[in-house]
Subunit: 221 residues, 2 copies
């Protein structure tokens, strides 16, 4: 019985890693689609999000079955509860990558990114890809080393998000169309939220490793 | 033992209702602060969000303890799992109300809302308050009647969100400052996401009432 349980718990952990890999991949492609105004790639990201949603549903179902059939306690129970919480964040990260791709599709053949904003969004995209990869590694090989790293990249994203607003506020009146400003604002928000959700996942890992019951919700929104 | 369990399960349900009430109240005050440019009220919303965060943490802890000590199965287990999921959405709804209040505080003494956008945001605020109240009622007195109602209000919010973008796109170049456009875009997004999260909560209630394991994630982001 114990062996079956361990195997099932490992399945759940493997699926979290797989979801994180898919989410990272989605952000990589969404960023590339945004930078190159690549409609085909944007549509791939949009289609692939259904897969992430289905994985979330599958993971939640297996977590629920494990709770029902095995009634885990202590550290094992914390893993299952964490999986239920982390799947919310991972599913949302997939949505955010999809939102970036959707904006590329809506504006195509016009580029969603105005010229003066390419650099800052290249940096945001790069940071978002990096935080996704670090999250994947953290889930694959949990350890406290990854947590501050993810926090640091999230801080980079927050700074770049502020930089976007500064660029918007400093832009000449009329240089950007109102619709362009709205687009840039949302794009920046999607990247920034992607970072927040990676932090949510890493806080769950931290909570598993340190054995505290409750992560500090006030730390991040 | 069974009696203790039932009492604990009811405590969790009561806390969800209480959280929903606080979230509704936060949205009511945030909307009022936005409409009247009321700094004092905005600050109250910001401060009160800590309470919602703490309630989330407390609820999650009690849910975890219930799983550990009572190992519920079947319908009871689904209630606890749903509570763990719903607390994520409720906590986030508190954040969104806080974000609206924060924007009022940042722009004060300037109003965060430009003149031409008062009407559409009055309607958004009204719909957001209504969806919060319906969600609270649904949690207090679960039944399938409330679910389509919440979906309908969410659809109103989506339409108003599109209306804001149309107003932005149609505004004369230079009539709004770039910073104002960014503010309006984010405000509209906060209201729209508040609706989405209410739908997430109502889907969880639906899933409890209909006994399906997995809500349809593709329905809403």
């Amino acid at each position: 019985m114990r062996e079956v349980f361990k195997a099932e718990l490992e399945n759940i952990a493997d699926e979290l890693v797989e979801m994180a890999a898919k989410v990272s991949e989605a952000m990589r492609s969404a960023t590339e689609a945004l930078e190159n105004n690549d409609l085909e790639l944007a549509e791939k990201v949009i289609d692939a999000d259904t897969e992430i949603d289905n994985m979330t549903a599958g993971l939640d179902q297996r977590s629920a079955e494990l709770l029902a059939l095995q009634a885990p306690v202590a550290a094992d129970l914390r893993v299952v509860i964490s999986a239920l919480k982390m799947s919310v964040a991972l599913e949302r990260m997939g949505d955010l990558a999809r939102h970036i791709a959707s904006l590329v599709r809506i504006r195509h053949p016009q580029p969603a990114l105005p010229e003066g904003f390419r650099d800052v969004f290249l940096r945001m995209g790069e940071a978002a890809i990096r935080i996704g990869e670090e999250m994947e590694q953290l889930l694959d090989n949990p350890g406290l080393r990854g947590v501050p790293l993810i926090n640091a990249i999230d801080e980079e994203l927050d700074q770049l998000h502020l930089r976007v607003f500064a660029l918007i506020a400093d832009s000449d009146h009329g240089a950007l169309s109102p619709a362009q400003i709205a687009d840039i604002t949302l794009l920046s928000r999607y990247f920034e939220r992607f970072g927040d959700q990676a932090v949510n996942v890493s806080q769950r890992v931290e909570y598993l490793l340190t054995g505290s019951w409750v992560p500090d919700l006030s730390a991040k929104d």
